[in-house]
């Protein structure tokens, strides 16, 4: 009982810190920016102490990206279209999906997978005691730098595919594309953070978190390949089929109706709220392991 209330009050204290006008501390935004800059610095330092590894991770991700492109090549050696999707549209989709995944990976992935470790070892104690919003710390502690290099490579592929498609996107399209990509990243983050929060119930939640990779796998497939209940679930419940498909449709003039992006934005907001609620609900279950 006492532990629970303490955890909760820590939470609130973290969120409310720096908000009062009499508070001599800098504003919340400035304070969090400073903290985040410090986290970046430690991440860069850590990466640079294993330079060879840093480069090898880029190679690993490039290999997986090449594998996806090879698959697209093999598929289109057998057919000219998947539904109405042509080969370069699917390449654009593969690139976009990889871009979203890599940016997501750069900011959040390691942190989400580490949560179960923090709970198992009791290191959460330390994070809960800091006068900073705990979710912010847990989600953004490490930055995965190789992912930025791979995201840049994905952008190159996207530009090449767009050239092959003779696309001349207007500013509005590019803006919409970018905004929808951000929403997509937030959808992935919200869903995965919820899965990671399951660690508060079962300590070995890492398997569940890695299971989420399977959803990345379907995010890069053209939505028209799916029908029925499967499509409904992964469009309207877990919107992974919208995450990369909708931005690409916006960019490639393939958008059939505005409902698609409205659904994506709506579900993005809904999942962000649910995931925040679930996090607060879960953290009450935290019983420190070490002390």
């Amino acid at each position: 009982m006492s532990r629970e209330t303490r955890v909760e009050s820590r939470e609130q204290e973290g969120q409310g810190a720096g908000a009062g006008s009499l508070d001599p501390r800098p504003s919340t935004l400035v304070r969090y920016s400073a903290i985040y800059a410090a986290l970046w610095k430690t991440s860069v330092t850590r990466e640079m102490s294993f330079k060879g590894n840093f480069l090898l991770w880029i190679v690993v991700e490039l290999a997986w990206f090449g594998l996806q492109l090879a698959f697209v090549g093999v598929i289109f050696s057998q057919t000219t279209t998947v539904g109405t999707w042509t080969v370069w549209q699917v390449v654009l989709l593969t690139g976009t999906s990889s871009f979203i995944q890599q940016i997501y990976q750069a900011f959040f992935l390691v942190n989400c997978t580490n949560l179960s470790e923090l709970v198992r070892t009791g290191k959460m104690d330390f994070l809960l005691l800091l006068p900073v919003n705990t979710r912010f710390l847990v989600s953004m502690r490490q930055v995965d730098l190789p992912s930025f290099a791979n995201a840049a490579f994905a952008v190159c592929i996207m530009i090449y595919a767009a050239g092959k498609l003779h696309l001349h996107p207007v500013a509005g399209q590019l803006l919409g594309f970018g905004a929808l990509c951000v929403i997509g990243i937030l959808v992935h983050y919200s869903l995965m953070f919820m899965l990671a929060s399951v660690s508060f119930w079962t300590v070995r939640a890492q398997g569940i978190v890695w299971g989420y990779f399977n959803l990345f796998n379907i995010a890069r497939m053209p939505d028209e390949a799916f029908h029925g209940a499967f499509k409904a679930v992964f469009t309207f419940a877990l919107p992974v089929l919208l995450v990369s498909n909708v931005p690409v449709r916006v960019l490639a003039d393939k958008l059939t109706s505005p409902t698609m992006w409205l659904v994506l934005i709506g579900l993005g907001v809904a999942w962000a709220l649910i995931s925040e609620w679930f996090w607060r609900f879960s953290i009450r279950r935290y019983t420190s392991a070490s002390t």
Binding site: A63, F71, T79, V82, N217
Partner: protein
């Protein structure tokens, strides 16, 4: 021999503590599998009824992926390579240098017990999944294909293990080997037929792949079952698998012997 039976028994018990993980992994794995089947069905729908791609009808294509799932459950390494690398890095192998237990056979026993534990959790959901696609399930291509499939399956499992074991030996020289494991895994995913039947590749590339160990790690048993490899070629397929297996085994032994000389028994 008896001591290794004990290892298998203990291994099964240890692995069964992860049964929720195994179940979750199996169930999550159905999502991309189902997605892949949908993708191919859409492609075949666009091609018209009765068309064949790379020699595969729609039913055969779907059955191919179902077989991939089955062979994968039966033969894939789970976390053996990570565990072996951790044993080396953390000095846990010191005890095996003192005891009359061969570390390689010890790990092989653990690999089998891991598979048994995994199969025990995966078989029911997998059976249900296949039951949903039962119209696509076909019998082995011929009477001889079934025993050849089983033999090929065993060779595949052993090859999977020995290649992982050899890769894990890198831990003697390198602190961090996960990148190498992932790169190998990516190659295997593509070139072993995991992602698509190798028959879809241009014949030159398809044939060239048989000079790598990858087709022996998944494609060969499936192709034997489906009759893509038939007649005298079955013997050839099994021979190629056996050769790769021998090579991987020799390499594993060699790497271990070299590694032990370098080994400094940190921790332990």
């Amino acid at each position: 021999m008896k001591k290794y039976w004990h290892v298998i028994g203990i291994g099964i018990q240890n692995n069964l503590t992860y049964r929720v993980n195994y179940l979750a992994r199996t169930l999550f794995g159905f999502i991309p599998l189902f997605a892949m089947l949908s993708l191919w069905r859409t492609i075949y729908a666009g091609k018209g009824q009765g068309s064949a791609l790379g020699g595969y009808t729609q039913a055969q294509m779907i059955f191919y992926y179902l077989l991939v799932a089955v062979v994968d459950v039966l033969t894939a390494v789970n976390e053996d390579d990570w565990q072996i690398a951790a044993d080396i890095r953390e000095g846990n192998i010191s005890q095996f240098l003192l005891k009359p237990i061969d570390y390689l056979w010890y790990r092989l026993c653990l690999f089998f017990s891991g598979r048994i534990a995994f199969i025990s959790m995966a078989c029911v959901p997998l059976a249900v999944f296949i039951f949903c696609f039962r119209e696509y399930v076909v019998l082995p291509a011929s009477g001889a294909a079934l025993p050849a499939f089983v033999i090929s399956l065993v060779l595949t499992a052993l090859l999977q293990f020995f290649i992982s074991y050899t890769m894990a030996m890198l831990a003697f020289w390198l602190l961090e080997i996960s990148t190498f494991i992932f790169i190998l895994f990516a190659l295997e995913y593509l070139a072993s037929g995991h992602l698509f039947p190798l028959d879809l590749l241009p014949p030159v590339i398809g044939h060239a792949l048989f000079f790598t160990p990858f087709p022996s790690m998944l494609y060969v048993p499936i192709a034997i079952y489906m009759g893509k490899i038939a007649g005298a070629d079955v013997w050839l397929g099994l021979l190629v698998q056996s050769l790769w297996l021998l090579l991987a085994y020799a390499l594993a032994r060699f790497a271990w012997r070299r590694g032990i000389k370098k080994y400094a028994a940190f921790g332990g």
